[in-house]
């Protein structure tokens, strides 16, 4: 187990390092940074001053070293718009995103996993059919449209919920439902197929043949064994919540990391973009690492293969 953890840790560090390089390359090598970093209406005489001040006149290798050196110390430069430390700005917004994503995650596990299990156990019954239709719809309906429609019904027409912003529990309801919708549909389908796989195993047949109550067959033999693929796949998918947050937060004016990223991209505030995208990528990679380690701990066969 120790060797497995160490090798996965080393891999993660490498991926984070390469991701930072990719972020730098995307922003820096795709053209003249002044046109990216600067407002569109900038005066020609100011351009060179900006170049000098932001270090764009230095050789690319120096700039790269400075970027990586800064990133390691958590220094991505100063926001061009807010004149604040870029990472500080990003970290300020992180708790709101974690609250939203955490709620969506909890909602998903509370709804999607039971839905998937019941669907598999009652395979081809009416419940399974309704659940299948729901999950297929859930995967097709885009989150931002679902968000607009919910706002129209519950905020504009019924006036039950606020249209956006953060503050009370009521503010959290629509954004977390929208963020959870697509993810729940995925998890419900994954759960269903994972449980069906286990139900086909011979030890389930044995359990039934020796006369165990169906409750025990499902509750103990099936669920415990299907937990591994469910946890893994759901965990790997959970990172997509960070992507979903970009859109959900924008619709509901939720002051989180995703909305900040979109605003920074629109404002061409690239130090903030660098900080936000790098942080998202690091969190995402760490989540994958945790899932992998969890997987290795739950299922010893994985450790050996790796």
């Amino acid at each position: 187990m120790r060797g497995y953890v160490l090798s996965r840790l080393a891999q993660t560090v490498l991926v984070v390092f390469l991701s930072l390089t990719a972020v730098f390359a995307m922003v820096r090598l795709s053209g003249d940074p002044v046109t990216l970093f600067m407002p569109m209406d900038i005066q020609a005489k100011d351009i060179n001053e900006f170049r000098e001040r932001l270090g764009f006149n230095d050789p690319i290798a120096v700039q790269y070293a400075r970027f990586i050196g800064g990133a390691v110390r958590g220094d991505f430069g100063e926001s061009l718009r807010y004149k604040q430390d870029a990472l500080g700005l990003v970290l300020e917004r992180l708790p709101a995103t974690l609250l939203l994503a955490g709620t969506a995650l909890a909602l998903t596990f509370a709804v999607a996993v039971p839905l998937g299990v019941l669907s598999a156990v009652r395979r081809d019954g009416p419940f399974d059919h309704i659940a299948t239709v729901t999950t297929v719809l859930g995967q097709a309906v885009p989150g931002f449209w679902l968000g607009l429609m919910l706002i129209y019904v519950f905020a504009v027409q019924l006036r039950w919920l606020p249209t956006g912003g953060i503050g009370t529990a009521a503010h959290l309801i629509m954004p977390s439902i929208v963020l959870a919708a697509f993810y729940s549909a995925r998890v419900a389908r994954l759960t269903r197929s994972a449980v069906l796989d286990i139900l086909n195993e011979e030890y389930i047949l044995t359990a039934r043949a020796k006369g165990l109550a169906e409750r025990r067959v499902i509750g103990k033999h099936t669920l415990r064994n299907s937990a591994i693929p469910i946890v893994t796949l759901a965990g790997l998918e959970a990172g997509q919540l960070l992507g979903g947050a970009v859109i959900t937060e924008t619709i509901f004016a939720w002051p989180g990391l995703g909305r900040l990223t979109v605003q920074a991209l629109l404002n061409r505030d690239f130090p903030v973009v660098l900080a936000a995208v790098s942080l998202t990528s690091i969190i995402y990679t760490l989540m994958n690492l945790v899932v992998d380690l969890l997987y290795g701990w739950l299922d010893p066969r994985v450790r050996v293969r790796a």
Binding site: Q11, L242, V246, V262, T285
Partner: protein
């Protein structure tokens, strides 16, 4: 299962027909403003889905939006399938360093959520139709490379490939005549499942203010504009979004069916 496949086919064909015959299905120009008839509700004479804030016919805009969405989806799927498929084929076949390099690149790309990566690339390469296709392709090819590489690694070990190699069949012929046909079903399945992801992602990116810009009738930018009128004109948000959701649904159902028939083991 049959029902779902037929439903998917029906919806997809409807979307295709709507896109192909857009100018004939609605007499209006999707860009022509008519300030005398702005924000008319659905059912208004001459405007079955109503009009938007500039009096443009919503039906015409939704139909032309279908053209754009399907065109972007088709281009992106084609580019990613060819590029990703080819790279995966080569990496799986030659293993050693091309494989390692490719898998590292894949790891790095997969350390960003797809939509964030596509969005960031788009903000950098610039707005417009061509650039949204480039951005989505750049963010989306990895999945093919991964799936195809994995498949090639196992197909390569099969007896008929070994036998062909033993008979002295050249590498190129081996790769394209013996390996490729056996991984092609996976490429087709991934492509069909990616199609709806691409059109939804394009709409999301345009919704956020990047990608395809107004006044071009893209579903995403139409939805973005509709937000300002949500209190008074629900139809501006309802119809483009419904068209997008239905199209995604139809293509997903077809993709599910393709996977179940061609490659039931594949998990994407």
């Amino acid at each position: 299962m049959k029902v779902k496949a037929w439903l998917g086919l029906g919806i997809t064909v409807t979307a295709l027909l709507g896109a192909a015959f857009a100018p004939w299905l609605s007499a209006h120009d999707p860009l022509a403003a008519d300030f005398a008839a702005f924000l008319k509700p659905p059912g208004t004479a001459g405007h079955p889905l109503g009009t938007d804030q500039l009096g443009r016919d919503l039906l015409a805009r939704v139909l032309h939006g279908a053209r754009l969405a399907l065109f972007i989806g088709a281009c992106t799927v084609l580019i990613t399938a060819v590029v990703g498929g080819l790279l995966g084929l080569l990496a799986g076949f030659f293993e050693r360093w091309p494989s390692t390099v490719l898998m590292r690149i894949a790891d790095v790309q997969l350390s960003f959520p797809f939509i964030l990566l596509a969005l960031t690339i788009n903000a950098i390469v610039g707005l417009g139709l061509r650039n949204i296709i480039i951005s989505l392709s750049a963010a989306g090819w990895v999945i093919y490379a991964r799936v195809v590489r994995g498949e090639v690694l196992s197909v390569k070990q099969r007896d008929f490939v070994q036998a062909a190699a033993a008979l002295g069949v050249g590498r190129g012929r081996l790769l394209f005549r013996h390996v490729l046909p056996n991984v092609a079903p996976s490429i087709i399945v991934v492509a069909s499942l990616q199609f709806s992801q691409f059109i939804v992602a394009e709409a999301a990116i345009s919704f956020l203010g990047f990608g395809v810009q107004p006044p071009t009738p893209a579903w995403g930018s139409m939805l973005s504009e509709s937000r300002d009128f949500l209190y008074i004109a629900w139809w501006l948000a309802a119809f483009p979004g419904a068209a997008l959701a239905l199209t995604a649904l139809g293509v997903n159902l077809l993709g599910d069916w393709l996977r179940d028939t061609l490659d039931p083991k594949l998990r994407v």
